[in-house]
Amino acid sequence: MKAKKKKLIYNSVTFGLVIAAFLICQLLLSTGGMSRSFRGQLIPICCWIVMAVSLNLVVGISGELSLGHAGFMSIGAFTGIIVSGWMQRAFQMEDPVLRLVLAMVIGAVLAGIAGALIGIPVLRLKGDYLAIVTLAFGEIIRNLIDCLYVSVDGQSLRFGFLNNKLPGDLLMNGPNGAVSVQTIATFTAGFVLVIIALIIVLNLTNSRSGRAIQAIRDARIAAESVGINVTKYRMMAFVTSAMLAGAAGALYGLNFSTLVAAKFRFDQSINVLVFVVLGGIGNTMGSMIAATALTILPETLRDFGQYRMLAYAVVLILVMLATNNPLARAFFGRIFAPVKALFRRKKPAEPDLKGGDAK
């Protein structure tokens, strides 16, 4: 009972935070109280939140190390750009909302397929193989996209590999990346995507399947012995995560008028991993907050001039020290105590008979 209640509180606080943040941003946007600099970061922040939440599903809930998350984002991004450009040029579909949704759905599906293709062989293995394979996957995707040329010719799409002599309008121009992208991403779409990602991840985590996934993470042999299909549940987490990354990628790609494959290098995957680790592995709300904070931070540190990235690193170290320091934890505990008490007061003092309750 208590565990369930705690989860309910956690989930409602998570959703509440997102909705409150969205409403505050909307208010600031409508009153013009938000600087341009911050306004421009809203959509990327939504994308990075979804990336962090989805990677957290693999790293935190399923307990695997994936180092190619940016690869899935890349697939989603370029698929989204191609779908949107194709729909607009070949079928005169001008409605941006419809195109954005279509781009995100197809981006998610393709990224999911890529995730499944990798997962089928690799998730059967034990040990660190997933990390190695995903790392290679991210690099392979980047190199392939660098050689890919796509154009719209009439109603059909034409693909060229290392061959730029294609008829029609070029959508993807090899190492130039995607060009002349119509930017149709909106902050509202980003907010909706974050909410959808949260619903999927939190529901999956708290479901029967989610418990199976966590059981595999904590004790694989024990889980196998009670008849849990290990590969199936690991696949479930991995593919879901890849699909969410694909959708985030499509939104991200359609927010800029150009996008190059080099954006989704290995260090971008690590960046997302940093969000997850800093937010606390397995903690969805933490991933969200870390993704937001670490996207805004480099921009707010601009006044440091050339010491900007040094300051960024120092802040990262300080946060890690502070969150692991018993003194600091006690300090934050005291701050949040009234908030916790607020929730506690609502229920009658329930005698803790069960004792050793799971957290």
Partner: protein, 398 residues
């Protein structure tokens, strides 16, 4: 964790905080000095132009961003020191060669009240920023983003540098017309927009001019071993190797060729500029390398010599073509602003259309040649070939 290590960590953390605070204070201090220096000769008709420069000061393309930042700064300092009608506030925003960050920089610059942009230095961020700037009506002049995509469909975007296709065509023409060997090998980076762009037009033009391209090999970023590419060129009997690439990989190619005793004519483009500044690079390997560039640091004219001397004094390095482009960009902007009658209190959107009109009328004599602009934003100037002799760039034809 023992108490002792814990204490040490806390102390280190405190120290870092102190360092940070010190940095903050010192950077604040610097800021306060600047206006004081420029306000000194205050006259009523002095016009202050707020120019924002966006370029990568850190990250993989930092060499170019620092060069453009320094070059532009020198031009701004000169104009301020000359005490004419204009004062320049020149501020660089670090975009780390990333489109997302570059847009953040642009937004921040607009928040800070910039009137016009010099930038961005590199191509992909420039395409992203110029699309946004075209919507907002902000005038942009890039020193070095050379893709045609940068100016395509945007009337607010102008270039100081040649476009990639122009470089490919010019290189092929130069080789054909100046009696250089016609058996050509090309080694290019097929993961790089700049390199691929030049390669594609070069090969097309080479065919037209009956140059025989006998070997085409590729590599990607972070390639460290060029044995395959160089051997392929050697085996095909190429007498000239065209390198439409940046100087980093080019230096490795020269080293590899020296090891297998292969001595063709090396022909580079403006990305080759900078090869002599690489630390630990044996300059004798670059002996005889030809490159087509609008700027050579040893040119005899007074303008170039002054610029090179100031650059050496301030930054302790020989300026490359990127620095020269940014230097010219600031002068071109001031010339355009004068023609357009820009005043201190104009907003970016008010300046834009006036600057566009002025830009097509002016003619600027800079260190990279005499420049004029067409309505599509592309520059007209003549490239010159330089050859590396005794560790220095020397004009090829003189």
């Amino acid at each position: 964790m023992s108490k002792k290590t814990h204490n040490i960590i806390v102390r280190v953390a405190l120290l870092l905080v102190l360092v940070l605070v010190a940095c903050l204070i010192s950077s604040c201090g610097q800021k306060k000095e600047e206006p004081a220096a420029t306000e000194a000769p205050k006259a009523e008709d002095v016009i202050t132009l707020k120019i924002a420069h966006i370029g990568p000061l850190t990250g993989p393309a930092a060499v170019y961003g620092n060069a453009t930042s320094n070059g532009g700064q020198i031009a701004a300092d000169e104009i301020n020191a000359a005490g004419g009608k204009y004062r320049i506030e020149y501020k660089t925003y670090d975009d780390t060669h990333d489109a997302e960050i570059a847009l953040n920089c642009y937004n921040k610059a607009m928040d800070d009240g910039a009137q016009m942009i010099v930038g961005t230095t590199t191509t992909s961020p420039c395409i992203a920023v110029s699309a946004q700037a075209a919507k907002d009506r902000t005038f942009m002049l890039t020193p070095s983003a050379s893709s045609t995509e940068v100016t395509k469909d945007k009337d607010n975007m102008y270039q100081i540098c040649f476009t990639d296709p122009a470089q490919g065509t010019a290189s092929a023409e130069y080789i054909a017309q100046n009696g250089l060997p016609t058996k050509v090998a090309v080694i290019y980076n097929n993961a790089d927009a700049y390199s691929t762009g030049i390669y594609q037009t070069f090969v097309d033009k080479a065919k037209e001019l009956n140059l025989e391209v006998v070997s085409e090999t590729t590599f990607q970023d972070n390639t460290k071993d060029f044995t395959v590419q160089v051997n392929d060129a050697k085996a095909a009997g190429a007498e000239l190797v065209f390198l439409p690439i940046y100087y980093g990989p080019a230096s490795m190619i020269l080293q590899t060729a020296a090891q297998i005793d292969y001595k063709p004519v090396w022909f580079g483009v403006d990305g080759m500029d900078g090869i002599l500044d690489i630390e630990g690079f044996d300059k004798s390997l670059a002996e005889g390398v030809l490159l087509l560039t609008p700027f050579s640091a040893d040119a005899k004219d007074e303008k170039t010599q002054n610029f090179v001397a100031t650059y050496q004094k301030n930054y302790n390095a020989i300026p490359n073509q990127f620095a020269a482009d940014a230097y010219d960009a600031v002068y071109a902007l001031v010339a355009a602003a004068e023609k357009a009658g820009i005043t201190s209190d104009m907003k970016a959107a008010d300046c834009c259309d006036k600057l566009i009109a002025a830009m097509q009328e002016i003619k600027v004599e800079g260190v990279t040649g005499t420049m004029s602009w067409s309505a599509n934003g592309e520059v007209t100037k003549t490239p010159t070939a330089v050859v590396i002799k005794d560790g220095k760039y020397v004009g090829f034809n003189n």
